[in-house]
Amino acid sequence: MPVFLSTHSRQALVMIRTNLSSLPRRRAISASMALSVALVVCVLAGFLSMAKGFETALASAGSPSVAVVLGGGTNQEVGSDIPAAVIRTLDAMTGDLGVIRDTGGKLLSSREIVVPVDMRQVTDGASRTLALRGMDLAGPSIREGVAVSAGRIFSPGAREIVVGDRLADEFGLGLGDVVRLGAVDWTVAGHFSAHGSAFESELWADLDAVRSAFDRQGQVQSLKLRLAGPASLTLLRDALATIRQAPLAAVSEADLYAAQSGRTASLIRLFGWPLALLMAVGAAAGALNTMMSSVSDRTVEIATVRALGFSRLSAFLGTWIEAIVLAAAGVAVGLIASWLIFNGWQASTIGANNARMAFQLAVTPDVLLTSGLLGLAIGILGGALPAIAATRLPLTAALRTRG
């Protein structure tokens, strides 16, 4: 033990060491406390990683440099309608709208509609509702981080789809496969990747092909525009304000997806936290019981060193640190288990447009930190009362009891 330590520190270190050394005598109950903490950590980490994964999938789907124009007074694609006249007016506008133009001077944009379609899953044969997005040919290139990973993009006017990598895996959609969506057959022309974002949960096809297959002639739900930069959205809004035919709203793609993810992620957390806290209360009671057993097991040892002149503080710290060490062991087990079990786990939920959205659970550092702190709190709170009890042991217990 270092020379420079004060006598109080030396006392505390001896008590901590003797407590931890005697842990094997209480192997079963100590392990049960650590495991109950690990379980709480796992449950909370599971829910938080689910919320985090959902947020990540949607956040990475949205770019601040892509504007989404919606009509009909809604802030979602479902229910939005942009009249063709509005699009023509916008296309005819000259000057700086904040939108990038192609070499011919046309706005870099994509008219889009989303149609929910049912498709059977390969694994269990169950039918799932997916989002089939009809878009102009510029649609994929407007989006950030999207790349064709196999095959090619759909041809204009053809009944071809390109499928997100995640869906292709899940539904076994290979290149050249023919799938029936609605009343007509579609050929898989390609696969695309989008860094695991929500885009990968969609099927993309030519706008006119989708409109004709689903009897949505002339309909446009949203207009995607490639902005010169995030700050250019204001210019676009100003331009839209001059169009009187219909109420229009322009939001950045990032904001649109953030708003969608925020609601669902909050809901996941709303279920996760109370459950984890309830379990934490149970685990804290378990910790209390374990540490009371520890104090009872070491009554003679604690009373003996106190009779020798050791302080109450050292008795308190010895028991308290033992509880915290056990909780920390539980936290370590819980975090490792959470990482191994949850990180990268494929999950899905009903996302935007009432279609299925797949995402990966993400056990991020902040998820680990939050879950770990809750686990440690169990040890800190559950160990405090027994530690106080250790300071109040009658010293006479040391004098006439077999050690």
């Binding site: 006598t7 050394s21 003679v300 060193v305 009779a307 020798l308 006479t396 004098l399």
Partner: protein, 233 residues
Amino acid sequence: MTQDNEPYIALGGIRKAYRIGGEMIPIFTGLDLTIPRGDFVAVMGPSGSGKSTLLNMLAGIDRPDGGTLRIGTSHLDQMGEAARAGWRAHNMGIVFQFYNLLPMLTAAENVELPLLLKPLTRKERRLRVERVLDLVGLSGREKQYPALMSGGQQQRVGIARAIVSDPGLLLCDEPTGDLDRKSADEVLEMLRFLNRQLEKTIIMVTHDPQAALYARRTLHLDKGDFIEEKRAA
């Protein structure tokens, strides 16, 4: 300050009662006792006579309800619990009936415990521990754990722990109560040596009349009062 002719330990009019089942049971109702420095006193008496209560009060573990209790210059009856713990650490060693060694510490580490309460360097502590283990005949067993020692050896470790900080007073609570005759005699010889050669004041509670023979005098306690005193021949 106590004068040389004043007793080292002085108890005057000690009163002590315990509440048992809502009723106050008196243990002492005015106990007087004086012990000079360097004495070796055996305290005997039947169960419930107050031996343990007396020992607890002398150790500062318990406080009298009334009366005065002075050891050296310290008035234990007027000291708070923390002060008594500090006083205990610097002025007294306790030898327990069941040795009360910490099983997960080696013999040397058990003996070192009281020294952790003093501002000593690691080297100073190690030298003191080696010296007292040598004194009690356990040199070379520093790293042995209590579970691997006989009862007599464990009690000698307990004695080494009690004297390692060189206290003036040793309180022994049935120090041979858990030992066979041979081991008991070795421990008692050790205590006599500490009293005669190192001038430790020793108060030993015992049920064993043969153990009491090693003391300079024996006090018989019954119903909270001393009824007989025998001096060694």
